[in-house]
Symmetry: C2
Subunit: 334 residues, 2 copies
Amino acid sequence: MGRVNVGIVGATGLVGDMTASILRERHFPVEDMRFFASARSAGRRLNFGDRELDITEVTPGCFEGLDVVFVCAGTDVSREVVPRVVSEGAVAIDKSNAYRMDPDVPLVVPEVNAVALGKHRGIIANPNCTTIQMVVALAPIARAAGLERVVASTYQSVSGTGREAVDELTDLSRRVLDDERVQPRVYPHQIAFNLLPHIDNFDAQGYSGEERKLMLETRKIMGLPELLISATTVRVPVYWGHGISVMVETSEKLTAARARELLAGQPGLVLQDDPKRCVYPMPITAAGTDEVYVGRIREDESHPRALHLWIVADNVRKGAATNAVQIAEHLFRA
Amino acid sequence: MGRVNVGIVGATGLVGDMTASILRERHFPVEDMRFFASARSAGRRLNFGDRELDITEVTPGCFEGLDVVFVCAGTDVSREVVPRVVSEGAVAIDKSNAYRMDPDVPLVVPEVNAVALGKHRGIIANPNCTTIQMVVALAPIARAAGLERVVASTYQSVSGTGREAVDELTDLSRRVLDDERVQPRVYPHQIAFNLLPHIDNFDAQGYSGEERKLMLETRKIMGLPELLISATTVRVPVYWGHGISVMVETSEKLTAARARELLAGQPGLVLQDDPKRCVYPMPITAAGTDEVYVGRIREDESHPRALHLWIVADNVRKGAATNAVQIAEHLFRA
């Protein structure tokens, strides 16, 4: 790989910050690095390895000379910034929802559909966190037996919302433990020691934006536009790592034993399936790692060709930053 | 209702203690009350309203003169104590798993199958907490449209395990917040800020005991021995109240609107389904109440005749103590 000039928009947020860390961890050959953030953070300085860099606002021409820009700053910012990145000659790897369903934009999880990268026109979309970890586990099952239907229920950590939600879980947990008054600000209700079946806005059919993302993005990434899929997404009082309970109906019967073999052979996926010895995926063990973990693999006894999977990954790493860096690795591979 | 002589075995545990409270809250006409517990608690005294009562161990003849005994002390104790209750002339309402699947023992959720009480032979089994709340919500759907298949993923609070698990969540949450070393004792792994897809022991098919209970008990209570049903049960860091994400396939198509009407008319069930206004069932609002809450009602877009439901109830109250007291109310109704 040659040396690459990199920008990060939203460099002070959870995902932007983690993207910088993972570029270093994975020895991505960064030549020039530029950090961008909103007016609130601009003017501060931030370390990248032993370099101390200024954080600046996005201004005309600021992306010139860069090869790739990770845009980690929410959908509205992306709609404004991504076209500028492209017009100034860099590739945008966008972590927001702005371009994911655009037919001209590849939506990529490298272990599943790296081939889609060949067709990009300057923008590559990074999928939603839950989608990423689910498709990594579904891909080997789809290849071996065909997917007919997926029903998913998620258990999503607060880091998916961002840094202020992580702080809110800490603050409200302390208050509940100390019997103090609880006043949520980030979420509509108390998240500490509670469950919120509410992630993003609701549509006329009663689905949340997060549920729609999981359904639509899974179809696009897996190249199965007609895949039958439905989801329920729930926020849980966990810091790092999302869980997904998935029921998957296949075209051909797969035994649990065969599914375990297939999943064990999938790059990026780690099989943790020895429940009698208390071995199964958990947020606290997935946190801080780049793999997707799968376990509790069982044949669904209510259907002749269905399996249950329990899938966990670090939503800020593989669910966002790591996946985006992996996309960049594919793009700039010599 | 005439005056009733009542015993509680396991009077110092979470469910036994709550049973005594609920008998008073609901003005159950208790004449004599006797509290029983293990040697560890025997000798202590416990209030029942303005009466202060001795706690004694179970001894031969201790149930004589009682009309009903709530047995709230785990499966092994129930196997020993319940036959004694019956032989000494009282009705046993057993909250353990010991007799639930016995074909001679009614397994009862009064809103769903109170009629089964007519056939009891001295023992009535109280179902598992998750089963109770799920069948209250499924009953009106089953009556209107027939059930074909149920796939459930649960989000279960620590109070389902007992008092020591409630204390462990508090202790470990404080330790995590204070960056101290975490050493779980009740659960095999840290429950604070984590998810454990592990409730009860695992069988050869990879299902946990809790999953089997939900599957088998639902069939028995609903009188649908052939019902297709599968489940994944997960422990979450919540104190009081279980959540269940349910996908239900019906024999006849039910719109979400019609399902809402049916659910709104079910005794014991409260519809909380206005997600755009942030109204949906949550553990913190269900806790301390006797109803089952249902919301997030949607048509499953991956199946022509399926719905999604999000069901929450206080697992120690409706999931255990309240349901048992309701059974007693039916038995001793004038």
